[in-house]
Subunit: 289 residues, 2 copies
């Protein structure tokens, strides 16, 4: 796991050299290079490997998914959105580079990600490339990540049109699970997996995404700033819909455990030390809560 | 020309149906459906046609380029950027939908554009698709449109690192010419044109983009709000680098005429009533100034 994270960090840095105009490349690299768990790229690489593919063939797509993730963090932190001054323990992008550059750095990452897939991928057929790019564009936009963010913002104002349960589920699936789905789907496509296996991994990612979001909701409730590296208790204070606010802490923990169990059942069919390590780490951290 | 604009409007509407969550789709469609000259998609369609390709094969790419253009307008108008309350004679996106939704609508268009190319293109080979998507991602981001916008913002603060002339040229090439380059390059690729012809059309688009920007600079100087549908005289008031501020009105007009003449020389080799119409219209409007 640690080695994979190091490898991802290396390639994220390598894929994005600073050129003119430097300000924009520096802003893009700033949030991208903050130390993170790199869960999404690691899942992409590991899915490709465990399904019999060449892990390194998945590196451009894996890094692209992290770029997309970081793009969403930069824009989420903006004053007009969540207005968060810290991210991964450091001042957020707009605090360092100003709002205009933070908007533009996010925009630039949103197209630099697929550019990286096209430029750096080796040994993929044009058909595979088009399919990966299609998954990327679909999950990144109004049918994925952005849809989740929009409903999330609406939910803070109590303006949701569906029931609270359906709304929360929609947010979690689109804001969180979507990037894990993109990660495992790209990994599986690169490994030339069958449609059946792609769908099974997609199902894994949906469950993992929900478990991860519940974990995040619980952590936001009980952690300190030092532990999370970002403002805590914001969800509660803003009256946001979360798993904890809607179902209570105990039910949230139960739901988390059942989702992680489903994830293990799927992954046990394959041989993935890395994904098991991720699942166990999340479970261990929550078991003491 | 009018028929082509109508056709583009029709497809822009058709390609983007409103679904849940409605707010984001409405925000995307709002700026996209404001009446515009649709110069970029028309150039894309017309290039495909005049180089012997099937014009309708270029419709998804043509509309995608307009989506990218509109995305850049929505983000440019934000309070943290140019802070413009009007666009095409109507309140700008963030005035209607709020800043958060305007940021997200721009983000969503940025990936919906290539999604449209992949979903709606018919009769293109996977190789052609990958190449078009590559051109899109490169020109849309930190090596194109965003680079132009960043240097433009820096130039307003007098913070440019190159000479004023080089800086202005960089802004015009990247902020304006880049979308025309993308338009004609995609049109030519879809028509299966030779690399030589692609480069010739690229050269045309660079010159046209510069001419168009000089035209825009002059118009900003001499027009009324009613004529332009957006705030006028802003460039001058903000001390922005423009062709007029740097070289004076007479030199700007001369440069414009020489660029348009170069454009005509290239297009005369082909049979394009539509592009000639565009060139003549711009020239006629400026001749009285």
């Amino acid at each position: 796991m640690k080695e994979l994270i190091k490898l991802v960090d290396e390639y994220l840095d390598k894929y994005l050299p600073v050129s003119y105009p430097e300000d924009i490349f520096k802003a893009m690299k700033y949030t991208l290079s903050l130390p993170g768990k790199r869960l999404r790229p690691v899942m992409c690489l590991e899915t490709a490997r465990m399904l019999g593919g060449d892990m390194m063939k998945a590196m451009p797509a894996a890094c692209a998914i992290e770029m997309l993730h970081v793009q969403s963090l930069i824009h989420d932190d903006l004053p007009c959105m969540d207005n968060d001054d810290f991210r991964r323990g450091k001042p957020s992008n707009h605090k360092v580079f100003g709002e205009a550059n933070a908007v533009l750095a996010g925009d630039a990452l949103l197209t630099f990600a697929p550019q990286t897939i096209i430029e750096k991928s080796e040994g993929l057929s044009p058909e595979q490339l088009v399919r990966i790019l299609y998954e990327y564009t679909k999950f990144a936009g109004a049918y994925g990540l952005i849809a989740g963010q929009v409903v999330d913002i609406e939910s803070e104002d109590g303006k949701y049109v569906k029931s609270p349960e359906e709304t929360l589920n929609f947010i979690h699936l689109n804001k969180t699970a979507v990037l894990f789905r993109l990660a495992v789907r790209c990994g599986a496509i690169i490994a030339n997996a069958s449609e059946e296996v792609i769908e099974e991994m997609d199902n894994f990612a949906k469950k993992f995404g929900l478990a991860f979001q519940i974990y995040d909701d619980i952590m936001d409730e009980i952690s300190t700033f030092e532990e999370l590296g970002k403002t805590v208790g914001k969800d509660k204070n803003s009256g946001k819909l979360t798993y904890v606010s809607l179902y209570g802490l105990e039910n949230a923990k139960q739901k988390f455990n059942s989702m992680i169990k489903d994830c293990c059942d799927i992954i046990d069919k394959y041989d993935s030390k890395v994904i098991n390590e991720i699942l166990n780490k999340l479970r261990d951290r929550l078991s003491g809560v």
